[in-house]
């Protein structure tokens, strides 16, 4: 896998599951993808200004 490849790994899955658990409500696959991209951005120091 290339260094800049963001294909989800098992570690990412664990983080998504942890996020889902902490959210306290069921999620859809779309919201999980959104969260995954959000995590990828945060990992690289990118944050939305609106947040």
């Amino acid at each position: 896998m290339a260094a800049n490849d963001i294909t989800p790994t098992t570690r990412d899955l664990e983080r998504l599951i942890d996020w889902m658990r902490r959210s306290g409500r069921p999620q859809t696959i779309s919201s999980l993808v959104r969260r995954y991209l959000e995590m990828a951005r945060e990992e690289r120091g990118i944050r939305d200004a609106a947040k």
Binding site: A3, I6, P8, I17, M20, I29, V33, L37, E43, R44
Partner: protein, 769 residues
Amino acid sequence: METETQIAFEGTKEEKEIAARAFEVMKRKGMLFGANAPIKMSADAIVKALTKEGGAMSGRNAADLTPRLISALEKNPAVFGREAGGDFVTTKSGRAPHSQNGGQNTHTFKQRLNTEATTLDAGASREYVETLMNRAAEREAFIDTLADMPAPPTPRNTPHLPPQPHKPVEFQTLIPSHLIPKPPVVEEPDEEPREEPVQPAPQRATEPAAPTPTTPSVPAPATPAAAQTPTASAPASAPTGTPAVPAPTQPQTAAPATQPAATTGTTPPATEAPARRPEETAAPRPAATTPATGVAPAASTAPPTVAPATGSAQPATQPRPQTPSAQPQPTEARPAAAQPAVDTPPARPKPAPAAPAAPVAPVITGPIEVTVQTAGGPVTIDLTRSLDELLENEAVVATLEGTIGTMLESDTRIVRFGSEIFVEEATERFSKGDFRRIREYLEEPETGGVASDRDIMTDVLGRRAEHPDYDRARFSLNTKLLREKKDFEFVGIDTDRLWIIANSSPATHPVRKPAEIGQDYRYLEDPAIQSVEDEDAAEVPAYEHSLTYYEYENGVLPYDRRFKRIFPGAVFEDQRASLIRFEIPQLYGALIAELRYPTGNRGGFIMGLNELFTGHLVPGARFQIVPTDRGEDVFEVRYTSVKEREENLLQLDERRGRYVFRPVSYSVETDPAMLLTETKFGKLHNQKKLEEGERKKPDLIIINAFEAVGEDLDGKRWALFDDIFPVVNIERPISPTWLRTLLSGAYPYFYADETNEGAYFYDASKKPS
């Protein structure tokens, strides 16, 4: 130090004392908890804490104390709650917790003040604490090193520090990086010459990329000997672990050649190096095997490379051995690489750069491009774009949805219901009493035998939709009801989750058994016919239909391609049925129908429309089925009312088992080709209903239709397709597409009339006897 509690405990004097001691132990464990946050400990853990050396009851026998402790705590239920697992729970306020939200931590300070904080598990927490302690110790050692520097001319025997491994746990943001305490900045001595920016940038040998700015600035160990440049002056037994402070007073040529620049006194402080961006400080350092001899030609020193600013995710690079033939790269960022080492000032040697990287947030100045391996090849996206923009890339989203979905499918911790996904352990549990009350609710006449999950939540479980825990509870209810297959059956769709008592149905059943109807409609699932039907269905803009006699008699409609286009379909693969609400504006009424999904050798169909068909329509009536905005399972049946008229239409005399024509009044628009009038289909009068064995053979049904509506031409029967179609649909459902297939080569005795489009022949002489 002993603390004294003000809580009045119950029990004997000894029990009171034990309870008070236990409470102190538990309170100590939760000293950082909120006043009402539950503090949980097992009896063994409490006893261990009490009897350990220095504990409040040290010296007492643990085995003896445990039952007394349990007894004492159980006598104080107001203070100590007990969980199913046997653990005792209390709070700092001294009241047994009575959590209403199942231990959820929403609306806590953590949630309100720091929404990104992540719960630390025990292992990660321990690791984090150890990391901080280690770093503090390393900083102290380094400060000691600074203090001792001028004195000894020989290298200090500082402990060898192994290379710090890359710790992925740092990346998991157990605590957001900006909340991690930053190490103190060690001031540089003032006497350091500032006008010497030509010195090489501080290098740390083989130090992995620092994941956070908190990486202590401890001198890194030496590089492996294999990566070092062999020189004549280098001792053969040069230690791989280089002392942190080399001999500053010795001639530089005598210094071990294997000493990394980071550990030599010639290395200027980081503040003297050209200003580097934060990304560079976090990036891995290149090979640090620059000899400190000072006589080595500059060309032989590998210039330090600055890692690209790809953030902390950049993997650490391995040290590169020096190549004497390497050309110097006179880049502006590292002019020291070309500077002869002899120019280095013989100033007091300094250890590794003292000033750590400034822990400021990285500044994103350009695109951060990453790739996603989609089905169509790798797709590059720029993460600096907004989330909404990223989510517009359908290929990337589809790939990520597929990958994450597949990973979740195989994860047993995950439970799904429709489009929703959640963690099994976080779902709510319901008692047998709850299920009993749900069943009784469904049996009430007011419900009509069907209720949505929202109805059950409100009417049976008393949950309000505004409650923050509502979604979780509703999801839990659906998943738990789904497991009670003997008692409950899901008959909804993803957006309207309806439940009935298993194997019941609020819809009216057809004249024939549903299983027989399903077999009659099995042609709908025939791949050969489906492929043709797809093309036909694409031509029809909406679900317009002319009622056949079979549909009229049984109150059914086919679940064909056209209806599949306007209905979302089953949520689960093994789902038997979905309930559909049909509203009829002309009648100011509505009815519940049941869509039976295709299975094995049975086709899908909608049943329960008898009342509408027999009460208000006639065979041949035209109507539309229109989706509504009131739900994906709510449709309107629209037909055009016309002036009432009376005609002799085909009906079944059930007593005689024969078809007859009777006068029927109707006021609905009809399809003239489909209306079974006596004037057009008079030959059907008194015709006997086909036996079950006969009606299963399509060719017999078609022959029967040719006999009824065909004309005799040279011993052959000739008929128009539009005349055959309504007749064959008296006995069993046959779609226009399938009928054309049957008439065009499926049987040798049916064939098209080449001279008349839409006309067919039946040649009985070609039929095998």
